[in-house]
């Protein structure tokens, strides 16, 4: 039996085709995964199914929900379908909720407006719905406001809004991308459970093959607005027929880094007992400011040429540690030494010498490059750290060499950041870090914002650079697969402390600390998803 039948769906915007020849179907209780990289048209297809296309976009073909044709349907009919037939959950729960209404009121409003419930009945419906999504009134009052909830709880409220009227079809567009891995695992479990228990069809849209593989019974791979391959998840991923699917599967199965002997050399970077407190706003005029300890006696060592991973969820203190290591923040206690010398209180010349040894690449390639500068100027910025300030010719030569090392052309120095794609921008950021020939590069979620194919290219580049130059890395990431692929040793951070430390393979395969175990279990992994007895959401 088919609930949703999509045939030859196409979308054009101003005559330009964005989606073409999309055909698939979903049965009640079935989970279909729609996987694609950015720009593949996966979000657009969600909007097309719900009749929410942006102005100027035109849909062709056929989308039938329980036999009712939606393409070309009048707006009142579509509105009825959107309210009762199709529910949608988007990526960012913070923007999906009204900050001025309590969560109970928001869910009740949906029930009242689209479901025709009376005020009192809507309130009852809201309470029942919040309970369905794992927010029972006993634990989380319906009188709370969105800002009083965690990210995962907010996403549960967004799901409650979508399923309040028991839609036949739920579309979840990157529902867990903004969440931590443990929260992500919980939300995915909730979605799969809702689909199975309420016989609701679920279309799960994601860039993350591992996430989809863990939940979806069937999968469709989207590339450049077309489905290149679809079928049962296991069959498609174990024996991909299309070259693109094969590449995608390869990109999501990072090969573990080959073990390397530990170096006995003196540490390049050594932090001991670092404590960093943040003060909240003062309570009242004479009140004391509450103190939150972001780093609680953290010690880190990186030897020359060593590749060290630092994993943990948001709020664990990873970013604060990075800033303390770079000397951007002064810790309350503890020391940070680079090549045996402390940056704090160093004379300007000495500080430059030490800074030269440690450079950084940030996560967001759009925020880390000044949009007003040309690439040459951006890459050349750290050259002031070199002793005896190099002249113009020398600067140009070094910039060209750094650009060449990351696979860009010397002529790119004359272009501006906006002319480059995300992956190329990240290469520019790496070139900026390399231009002073540092010995350690701190990579702060440096590949997290990139699509899988770009991510594997950048990882390959980083491994090559490390091998060729004996470069050491401190690789900060929430993605255990990536850490596994790059690092020799891993530190696990929770609530401002290092809770586990050891060779990467050991930490990730035989975790000892409960938090590490939880992290490893929650991390989506393609291997594990395919090895599991059977994905959830299989139509019975």
């Amino acid at each position: 039996m088919t609930l949703l039948a999509v045939e030859d769906l196409g979308v054009t915007l101003g005559g330009r085709p964005l989606l073409a020849a999309l055909s698939f179907s979903v049965a009640p209780g079935e989970v279909l995964g729609l996987v694609g990289e950015s720009g593949s048209g996966k979000s657009l297809s969600a909007l097309a199914l719900a009749g929410l296309l942006p102005d100027g976009a035109r849909a062709t073909g056929s989308v039938r929900l329980e036999g009712e044709e939606l393409i070309g349907a009048a707006e009142p009919a579509l509105c009825r379908v959107r309210g009762r037939g199709i529910g949608i959950v988007f990526q960012e729960p913070a923007t999906a909720l009204n900050p001025l209404l309590t969560i109970g009121a928001q869910v009740a409003e949906t029930a009242r407006v689209h479901g025709g419930y009376s005020v009192a009945a809507a309130r009852g419906r809201a309470a029942a719905t919040l309970e369905r999504v794992g927010l029972p009134a006993a634990a989380v009052s319906a009188e709370r406001y969105p800002h009083e909830l965690s990210g995962g709880q907010r996403q549960r409220v967004a799901i409650a809004l979508a399923v309040a009227l028991a839609p036949r079809l739920l579309i979840a567009d990157e529902p867990t991308t903004a969440l931590d891995v443990t929260t992500q695992a919980q939300i995915l479990a909730l979605l799969a459970e809702l689909a199975a228990r309420e016989r609701m069809a679920l279309i799960l849209i994601s860039h993350d093959l591992a996430v989809v593989a863990g939940v979806a019974a069937r999968i469709a791979i989207l590339k450049d607005g077309r489905i290149v391959e679809q079928g049962p998840t296991r069959a498609v991923l174990q024996a991909p027929a299309h070259a693109y699917t094969r590449a995608l599967v390869r990109d999501f199965t990072p090969r573990p880094a080959a073990p390397r002997p530990a170096s006995g050399a003196a540490p390049l970077l050594e932090a001991t007992g670092v404590v960093r407190d943040y003060r909240g706003p003062r309570r009242g005029f004479f009140g004391r400011a509450p103190v939150r300890r972001a780093l609680d006696g953290v010690s880190v060592r990186v030897a020359p040429g060593e590749r060290v991973g630092l994993v943990g969820e948001s709020g664990s203190g990873k970013s604060t540690l990075v800033r303390a290591l770079l000397g951007l923040e002064r810790p309350e206690a503890g020391t940070v030494r680079i090549a045996g010398a402390s940056l704090a209180g160093a004379a300007p010349g000495e500080a430059r010498r030490l800074r030269r040894l440690v450079q950084v690449v940030f996560q967001d390639p759009y925020g880390s490059l000044n949009p007003r500068h040309r690439v040459g100027r951006i890459v050349a910025e750290p050259l002031g750290l070199l002793a005896g300030r190099p002249g113009a010719g020398e600067r140009e030569r070094r910039v060209a060499a750094a650009l060449a090392a990351v696979g860009l052309a010397a002529a790119d120095a004359r272009r501006r950041p906006h002319e480059f794609s995300g992956g190329e921008r990240q290469r520019i950021a790496i070139a900026r870090a390399l231009v002073v020939e540092p010995q350690l590069v701190i990579l702060d979620e440096a590949v997290s914002a990139l699509d899988a194919s770009l991510r594997s290219q950048i990882l390959e580049l980083l491994l090559g650079l490390s091998a060729a130059r004996g470069l050491a890395y401190l690789f900060v990431s929430h993605d255990l697969g990536v850490v596994r692929a790059v690092t020799d040793r891993t530190l696990v951070m929770q609530s401002g402390r290092i809770v586990e430390e050891g060779p990467t393979a050991e930490v990730l395969e035989r975790p000892r600390h409960p938090y590490t175990r939880q992290l490893v279990a929650a991390s989506p992994s393609l291997e594990r998803a395919l090895a599991a007895p059977g994905p959830r959401g299989t139509p019975s």
């Binding site: 450079q359 925020g367 750290p382």
Partner: protein, 280 residues
């Protein structure tokens, strides 16, 4: 600039504002030449003449040409307002940058000083300054300019703090750039647009404030013509010679309106979201 296509080029309001301000500036510059000297000469025989081909805006009780007076008044108005904006920007921007960069006590002290200034009535300060320095155009510049300082300081502090958390500023610090270099290379170029918009808004407020001060006799002193004093002088004659109030009043209203439109238009033009709609 037909104004028919708001998506490309200037919106009609912005174009109008820019054109009017350009015209005012031109007239103010022209008043530096002897062009209007004849009009400003006393001619008691032609006193209180209504607008005509000879005297476009009519004449005042001393027979001076009102058009010439309004033109020269534009110079006074613009000079005082521009001076006040420059004072506010040149003092406020470094203060705002310092507050953003240093935080802590510096930030707190500057914030409280700003609050103090905001709470203080502007007219009172002007009276105080006049008593100390004597009334005049320079006094007006200082009195108005002092109140522009916190406006620019707050604007710069807020935006600079947001910019300083951006990764490219962190990257610059790691690249060993000092605070001054970061301010000039990374912060100010990214703040220039905002400063420009605020300058247009403060300019319009400054023109209105200058008129207010000279209306109560605390601005430019006679014989230098100014719109505020012309309005004051016209007060007792509104019944018999209404043009004495019309033209300086209109000149003032149009200047304030034009600058407001220009400020709005610039803000829209520089809004990154608007830029995204227009394409790179």
């Amino acid at each position: 600039m037909s104004g028919a296509a708001p998506r490309h080029g200037l919106a009609p309001g912005t174009a109008f504002g820019a054109a009017v301000i350009a015209l005012y500036a031109l007239v103010a510059l022209a008043s530096l030449t002897p062009l209007f000297d004849a009009g400003l000469a006393l001619d008691v025989g032609a006193r209180l003449a209504p607008p005509s081909a000879r005297h476009w805006f009519g004449t005042d009780p001393l027979g001076r040409d009102v058009f010439a007076m309004v033109a020269v008044g534009a110079r006074t108005s613009l000079a005082v307002a521009v001076g006040a904006v420059l004072l506010g920007m040149l003092a406020g921007t470094p203060l705002g940058l310092a507050a953003a960069a240093r935080g802590g006590l510096t930030d707190e002290l500057l914030a409280r000083a700003n609050d103090l200034l905001f709470a203080f009535p502007a007219l009172l300060l002007a009276v105080l300054l006049s008593a100390a320095l004597g009334p005049g155009a320079l006094t007006a510049v200082i009195a108005i300019g002092v109140f522009n300082v916190p406006v620019f300081a707050r604007l710069v502090r807020g935006s600079a703090r947001a910019l300083m958390t951006r990764d490219f500023v962190l990257a610059a610090r790691i690249a060993g750039r000092g605070p001054l270099a970061i301010a000039f290379v990374h912060l100010l170029p990214n703040l220039a647009g905002l400063l420009l918009v605020q300058a247009a808004i403060q300019l319009s407020l400054g023109i209105a404030a200058e008129a207010g001060l000279s209306y109560v006799g605390l601005g430019a002193q006679p014989p230098a013509p100014s719109w505020g004093r012309m309005l004051n002088d016209a007060q007792t004659l509104v019944g018999t010679a209404p043009w004495l109030a019309w033209f300086p009043g209109l000149a003032l209203a149009i200047a304030v309106l034009a600058l407001g439109l220009l400020g709005d238009g610039l803000a829209r033009l520089l809004d990154p979201r608007a830029a995204a709609r227009r394409g790179p």
